[in-house]
């Protein structure tokens, strides 16, 4: 990483940022003007511009979402952004305004759909309210004629309608009560009478809990109204279809919408970058980082193209800078695991190279069945060949592919292929199901090698920062102490049966004591006061305990491996026990084997992934990695749908290999 400083003319600023964005290798840092020049120079205020861009973005996003719902496109399982040539991109981006209009249309289509939906709901609720009145042959919208009234309503279900009718006709012979429907708790009735008697009749009815129900929007009898509603509903449906087909029509503009969305996304990034510069009336100052190998190219390009002063320098010693991990293709596939943990600091070594082999090897041992490994590799290999995908997804799939290969290796070592018992004879190394104790010791041994590698990385980091001597004191003496510790514990290692009196163990005691003394003597050397110098080493003795528990943590290699092997074996045994006639038996056995192995595979493939991660994060990275670095975030087109193939990106590709540092 190198530091870059550019001093240029303000009128060229936007164009320069655009070029840097196309190049995509420079990170622009936020700069504040010094207090001295505060009056003349300032950061450009871009809030209003950003607000406008954001409102356009949200409009386009909404339109694309709507199209996704009503005119979905089947996406392949793994998809990558479309590559668009710069020329085509510019052409579509010119049509921004008309595309925004399209987006507006899509959104208004959805609003129409919403309105139609609420209309339909209204019709439905009206139809529901009409149901009790279907048998009534009276127009529901006529409450009064010249002399008579007709009201609809309900009376209490416990009332006997005949009694009601009699009571009414005794006082008002011109009245009539008609029952539309009787339900358990109420009768739906229509009451007819003379207008002049209306209030008295209503008073009488109140004795039976009269409740007036007026049906607005009715036209004619209930039956007629329902027919009318059906017609209306059909109209609504027709309108809905029309709107839908309009959306489908507009969906053809999807690609343009996506391109314009991304063009706003790009503009947003550029505007934000602008606010990081310091500007005066005529000039601007930009500071940032770029990968060292591009330094000359960027300088030459900027000097040739713009009227500006470019200064590129290496970071000072101990200065933190953004981190860009770069590895060969195979090793890079471990990056999903590393980034889950966090970015290493710029003062540390890139852990990818050492993590990769340990990760896939331990994964293989944990899954432990070559057959399952074969399946993983076949599936992921197929995906890698068949689909084009984003780099991050590709790394992950690639990692799984290597994990599959490593699992096949483990299968060969253990003689474990789909848990088939007779194949254990082919084991090249050890059969864990037969000698679990020995395998436990091997698991711990693998752990020790793993952690020693971690300590070695720590030594390299220390040596880089403060010299070889510190590395020897801080790590070399740890090696001696821990090795002695391990040797003196050998009699307790399961499955090895080494007696305590053997010379290795006796030597171990001595090495351990020497190691402890060396650590105690040197660990406190940087402490200022005398107590610190004498007792500074005591805490590192405690490190032995944590080293011991870390060792035991590696027994999970045995545990996970054994679990998958034994469950696989049980599935096979269960399958073979099935009786019955020949054909039925084949079917049942196939089903049991398929189901059982799929389950076992899914469970343990996942378990191995997670626990292999854990061993890297806690036991391995814990030894040397401090992390806390900032990832390198260059100014570039962070788009969602398209990748623009710019002419400038070709500039960087040409001949960089020679310059890679």
């Amino acid at each position: 990483m190198n530091k870059i400083t550019v001093l240029g003319l303000k009128q060229e600023g936007s164009q320069l940022l655009k070029s840097l964005m196309d190049l995509g290798v420079v990170e622009i840092t936020q700069e504040e003007p010094d207090s001295e020049i505060c009056g003349k120079a300032r950061n450009v205020n871009v809030q209003d511009e950003l607000k406008k861009i954001d409102s356009n973005l949200s409009m386009l996003a909404k339109a694309i979402d709507i199209i996704d719902i009503y005119a979905p496109v089947r996406k392949p399982l793994f998809s990558a952004r479309r590559v668009v040539a710069e020329k085509d991109y510019n052409e579509v981006a010119k049509l921004r305004d008309s595309v925004l209009v399209t987006a507006g249309r899509v959104i208004s289509c959805e609003e129409e759909l919403m309105k139609l939906k609420s209309d339909e709901n209204r019709l439905n609720s009206l139809a529901d309210s009409l149901k009790p009145w279907i048998d009534l042959d009276l127009p529901l919208n006529v409450s009064y004629t010249g002399y008579a009234f007709c009201h609809t309503g309900s009376i209490s279900g416990s009332a006997d309608v005949n009694i009601v009718r009699e009571t009414l006709s005794q006082e008002f012979p011109e009245s009539e009560i008609l029952v539309a429907r009787s339900e358990k708790d109420r009768h739906y009735v229509a009451v007819i009478g003379l207008k002049e008697n209306e209030s008295e009749i209503m008073n009488i009815l109140r004795n039976w809990n009269w409740n007036k129900i007026s049906i607005r929007d009715a036209c004619g009898t209930a039956g007629e109204t329902l027919e009318h509603l059906d017609k209306k509903r059909a109209d609504l449906e027709k309108a809905r279809q029309a709107v839908l087909s309009r959306i489908v029509e507009l969906a053809r503009e999807r690609e343009a919408l996506e391109v314009v969305y991304d063009s706003f996304q790009i503009e947003r990034a550029r505007t934000e970058a602008k606010s990081r510069l310091i500007s005066t009336e005529f000039a601007f100052l930009m500071k940032g980082w770029l990968p060292a190998e591009y330094s000359d190219k960027i300088r030459d390009y900027l000097n040739g193209r713009f009227c500006c002063a470019v200064e590129i320098e290496e970071p000072a010693k101990d200065e933190e800078f953004p981190v860009l991990l770069r590895n060969r293709s195979a090793v890079e596939s471990i990056s999903p695991v590393i980034s889950m943990y966090g970015v290493p600091s710029s003062l540390e070594l890139d852990p990818s190279l050492v993590t990769f082999p340990f990760y896939i090897f331990i994964y293989g041992l944990m899954l432990g069945d070559g057959g399952y490994g074969l399946i993983i590799s076949l599936i992921t290999g197929y995906i890698l060949l068949k689909y084009r995908m984003e780099q991050a997804t590709k790394n992950f799939i690639k990692l799984l592919f290597y994990c599959g290969l490593s699992t096949m290796l483990a299968g060969a070592l253990f003689g474990s292929w789909f848990g088939i018992g007779s194949l254990t004879k082919t084991a090249l190394w050890i059969v864990p199901t037969e000698k679990p104790e020995l395998m436990m010791s091997y698991s711990i041994l693998i752990g020790i090698i793993h952690m020693y590698t971690g300590l070695f990385m720590k030594a390299l980091n220390i040596a880089r920062r403060s010299g070889i001597l510190d590395a020897v004191f801080d790590v070399g003496f740890d090696y001696i102490m821990l090795t002695g510790f391990i040797m003196s514990l050998l009699p307790y290692a399961p499955g090895l049966s080494i007696p305590a009196s053997s010379p290795v163990v006796q030597l171990g005691y001595k090495v351990f004591i020497v190691g402890v003394i060396l650590v105690l003597l040197t660990r406190g050397r940087k402490s200022k006061n005398i107590f610190g110098k004498i007792f500074g080493g005591l805490p590192s003795l405690y490190g032995i305990i944590s080293f011991f528990s870390d060792c035991l943590s590696y027994t999970r290699i045995l545990a996970l491996g054994l679990a998958s092997a034994i469950i696989g074996d049980i599935v096979n045994t269960l399958g073979m026990q099935m009786g019955g006639n020949l054909i039925l038996r084949y079917i049942v056995v196939t089903l049991i084997l398929l189901f059982g192995h799929t389950l076992n595979f899914a469970l343990n493939a996942l378990g191995a992934f997670v626990h292999s991660c854990r061993l890297q994060f806690l036991e391995f990275f814990g030894k040397f990695l401090e992390g806390g670095g900032e990832a390198f975030k260059p100014l570039r087109a962070d788009t969602e749908y398209i990748v623009i193939d710019t002419e400038l990106s070709a500039l960087l590709k040409s001949g960089t290999k020679a310059g890679v540092k």
Binding site: P436, E437, T555, R556, L558, A559, L560, L562, A563, I566, I567, I570, L599, L603, L606, G607, V610, H611, C613, R614
Partner: protein
Amino acid sequence: MPELKFSSLFMNPQVYAIFGAAIAFLLAALGSSRGCGIAGQAAAGVVAEEPKRFTATMILQAMPSTQAIYGFVIANMILGKISGDMTLSQGLSLFIIGLPMGIVGWYSAVYQGKVATSGIHLVAKRPGGLFNAIIYATMVELFAIFSLVVSIIMLGKV
């Protein structure tokens, strides 16, 4: 038919062995039922609001079911060890072998269910969090795997 005395049951090695197998499966499967149960309730609540989360929540709900499988494995292996001429101490050993798998399986399944439930809430709020949620739940699983292995290693000694 020989006379069956109740007291002779206590001296019968096969009975102890079967008891061990029963404990191994019973407790582990009980725990799995509980774990899947509480996770399932949370999952249904989330899916009611967000139907798209079905697959993610289902994966998390299924996670505590493995303890029952491990219990099943141990029960099977204990039953496979039972023979007519075994001694009382062998029978008692087979009983004890069922304990780690049964008890730890039960406990870890319940807690895995609780972690999975929290994971389901995590997925509800942040759809990209499925992997993190799975990692948390898988951590709890490890102890069930260890007890499975301990039970298996002990079986090798009887």
